[in-house]
């Protein structure tokens, strides 16, 4: 089986992280976002993954060669000269997708959940239509585009953008399975699959919904990245608790790379991910944070709801909070207060940031 993953967006909302690393390679819970999906696809029997890429593809290509070997699958890159949106890339990869009659998966690259690929295939085959999309329940449907469908059959009637009166609490979860016949609908030009293709398919009775069980999050922006991390770690707690770190100084769900070094009298957690080679000196307090590879947090600092970029360095007695994101190789001097800052890569911060802002 095949899968096409849309990885061509600029990931602007996950800046400053995505200024130095393409979004699919940003580690979410110590694994590149993309690999969460690829590994789940492999488990469901996918043997050929096509990445629809448009920018920074060199890095991605190199990383994928290594993964091809490790996972024993084929990974192709389908390069676009101009961004083709969320549907156009399917037309570009038409040949790769139509060399058999099998259905194929299409995924947004930045959603995280317990991937239901096997169920998708089953449901799709039972229904025998052109497409099945996964939907997930949200609390505040008015913020999203919602999907209106028949509860018992799953047949989609329509899509409503940001509904002002309640029509449904299910939204598109960014995971689809299609039969090759669907590709005739798509031309090789920038096209939105959600806005231009799905409504027509629904009208013709060719699009069905499958409801996702369990957690789901679009981790395309820092706030949601952290929320998604909390959900993901909770699911690790249920499915593979041995992967989480426990013991004195660790609270709740904490994931620590074995190469990280943690000093004395630290309190870590709940909901923390510590990447490879990270150093936490003595007396550090971290909660609800992701600390990426090679970062160094000096003693007695306090971090909450923040993402510390690769190889960044946070001084002693620093207080960092409120969705602060440090890009790669940022230096925060001792004793500063950093509140909701977005710090671009390779920047050195010498003054406190008492109110949220972007540090160029």
């Amino acid at each position: 089986m095949k899968a096409l993953i849309l990885v061509g967006g600029y990931g602007t909302r996950l800046r400053p992280l995505t200024l130095t690393v393409p979004k699919p390679l940003v580690e979410f819970c110590n694994k590149p976002i993309l690999l969460h999906q690829v590994e789940a696809l492999v488990k469901a029997g996918v043997r050929h993954v096509i990445l629809a890429v448009s920018y920074m593809s060199d890095l991605l290509e190199r990383e994928m060669r290594a993964q091809e070997e490790r996972l024993g699958i084929k990974i192709s890159l389908s390069h676009e000269k101009e961004p083709l949106g969320t549907a156009g890339p399917l037309a570009l990869a038409r040949e790769l997708l139509t060399d058999s009659e099998e259905p194929f998966f299409v995924l947004n690259s930045d959603v995280i959940c317990d991937f239901p690929f096997e169920d998708m295939l089953k449901v799709h085959q039972q229904r025998g239509r052109e497409g099945t999309i996964v939907v997930t329940k949200v609390e505040e449907p008015s913020k999203y585009g919602v999907v209106v469908y028949e509860g018992d059959t799953g047949r989609i009637h329509r899509f409503v953008e940001k509904p002002q009166v309640f029509v449904s609490n299910k939204i598109n979860a960014g995971m689809y399975i299609f039969s090759p016949a669907m590709l005739r609908r798509i031309q090789l030009r920038p096209t939105s699959i959600e806005k231009e293709i799905f409504p027509v398919m629904a009208e013709e009775g060719q699009l069905y919904a499958m409801e996702l069980q369990g957690f789901w999050m679009d981790i395309g922006q820092p706030k949601d990245f952290l929320t998604g991390m909390c959900m993901f770690l909770q699911s690790v707690r249920q499915q593979a608790p041995e992967r989480l770190r426990t013991g004195p100084g660790f609270l709740g769900n904490v994931l620590v790379d074995p190469t990280a070094v943690i000093g004395d009298n630290c309190t870590i957690g709940p909901n923390v991910t510590i990447g490879a080679g990270v150093v936490l000196e003595d007396g550090v307090r971290v909660k609800r944070c992701t600390v990426l590879k090679g970062a160094h947090i000096r003693s007695h600092s306090w971090l909450e709801s923040s993402i510390v970029g690769w190889s960044s360095s946070v001084g002693q007695w620093v207080r960092m909070e409120n969705v602060t994101v440090l890009g790669e190789d940022v230096i925060v001097n001792d004793e500063l207060y950093i509140n909701g800052a977005n710090v671009l890569p390779h920047k050195s911060i010498t003054d406190s940031v008492p109110e949220p802002r972007i540090i160029m």
Binding site: N265, D282, G283, R285, H300, Q316, W317, R319, E335
Partner: protein, 427 residues
């Protein structure tokens, strides 16, 4: 022989020093580890023929003041007495009211000092200056240079540049008059009481002229006795060949706001290198790490992994846990700073507790370091209806929970906070 009078004011004064002045009379607030007044007393006691120091104010006699007086008398081996005005008589009325006490024993001269200044107290220099200038009847004001803008907040002195005679004196003018300002430290001869007496007589006559039916005599008497040295005496004496200014370029600052107490501590701690090296903490094995000038009371209990300084004063019985950081702050008697907490530009009140990893931080209002004549601004709390960022002050027995931040805030006494606060007064 010499005497000295220190004007200590009373409970209605020092409002800019709240909430700290709720707990202790402002003149007894510790600056660089010792009560503000002790710096004055020590400077006076160093003069060989200083016989007595009189504190004049309108505080009810209280235990704290009594304890301070008896300790200071012992330490400095000099008579120190507190004279209580029956009401606030102003900076000149109090000394006039108690003139017999001041003059008893026949001092040739006496100093008068505001309690709320910090200074290197160049008292011997003022005495020499008095000998060199004018006749023995002349009065000396200690002056210093301010910048033009800030001079408006002080008493301003125009002098004859050759003779240093005061030609003109105006208190807190609305427009620029002079950049030489009054430091609130004076050297008088007994003759000053004739001049104050004249003002008193005149006030009394005015009272008789303008008092109306039914007003009590005592009230009229009281109003006649309220005399301001600055506006009523100096302004009149200027240009009469009686009043001189001795200008100093040594350190000097007012202590009006709590923020200026931190600044004044810095100045005195720096002076300790010369005057009291034993009061400055040094880095020793098993002791905390200090940076710059730090005062630690011997009864404080400090973890060796704490890092203190510069400009930190730690009071009696304070407990400081592991990995605590304190900079530019005053930690008062009995406070507890738990592990990993961080205190910057703040005053932590008596018996207050700061939880683990909590951050208590203020914004310093230091004088512009690039202007040698800049003074500390002791502005009002609010500007354009918003609290101006200031040092953070925790009143006594305030509890700060673990892991929160208290930024640019003033917390009134006995408050248990349960979350972070920024730019707020917490009642």
């Amino acid at each position: 022989m010499l005497k000295a009078v220190i004007l200590i004011g009373g409970p209605q004064k020092g409002t800019r020093f709240r909430p700290l002045s709720f707990e202790v009379p402002k003149p007894l607030f510790p600056v660089a580890g010792v009560p503000m007044l002790q710096h004055h007393i020590e400077a006076c006691s160093k003069l060989p023929n200083m016989k007595e120091i009189l504190l004049i104010g309108f505080y009810q006699p209280n235990e704290e003041l009594n304890r301070f007086l008896s300790c200071a008398q012992q330490d400095y081996k000099i008579s120190i007495r507190y004279l209580q005005e029956y009401a606030a008589l102003g900076t000149g009325g109090g000394i006039y009211h108690f003139r017999d006490q001041i003059l008893s024993g026949g001092p040739e001269a006496f100093f008068v000092m505001n309690a709320d200044v910090c200074s290197e107290f160049p008292l011997p220099e003022m005495l020499d200056f008095q000998k060199e200038h004018g006749d023995s009847y002349s009065f000396i004001i200690l002056g210093t240079t301010a910048n033009r803008k800030q001079s408006l907040n002080y008493g301003c002195i125009v002098e004859n540049e050759k003779s240093d005679e005061v030609l003109h004196y105006v208190e807190k003018p609305g427009t620029f008059v002079s950049d030489i300002i009054n430091c609130g430290i004076y050297l008088f001869t007994p003759e000053i009481f004739q001049h104050i007496g004249e003002v008193f007589q005149k006030n009394q006559q005015d009272m008789l002229l303008y008092s109306y039916e039914g007003e009590e005599q005592s009230n009229g008497w009281h109003r006649a006795e309220v005399i301001r040295l600055e506006q009523d005496i100096f302004t009149a004496l200027a240009g009469q060949g009686k009043l001189y200014v001795y200008k100093t370029d040594r350190f000097w600052s007012q202590i009006k706001s709590a923020g200026s107490a931190i600044y004044a501590s810095r100045l005195y701690l720096n002076q300790y290198h010369k005057t009291h090296p034993e009061r400055l903490a040094t880095n020793t094995d098993g002791g905390p790490k200090t940076r710059g000038n730090v005062y630690i009371h011997p009864t404080a209990n400090i973890d060796p992994t704490a890092v203190l300084g510069p400009n930190v004063s730690i009071g009696t019985g304070v407990t400081i846990g592991a990995g605590v950081r304190v900079r530019e702050s005053i930690i008062l008697h009995g406070a507890t700073l738990q592990d990993h907490s961080c205190v910057l530009n703040s005053i932590v009140g008596w018996g207050s507790t700061i939880g683990k990893w909590a951050r208590v931080e203020g914004t310093p209002s230091d004088p512009n370091p690039n202007d040698p004549y800049a003074k500390i601004d002791s502005e009002t709390l609010f500007r354009d209806g918003k609290l101006t960022p200031s040092i953070t002050i925790l009143g006594c027995n305030v509890n700060i929970p673990s892991e929160v931040i208290i930024l640019n805030s003033i917390v009134l006494p006995h408050k248990d906070l349960n979350r972070s606060f920024k730019n707020q007064i917490i009642l």
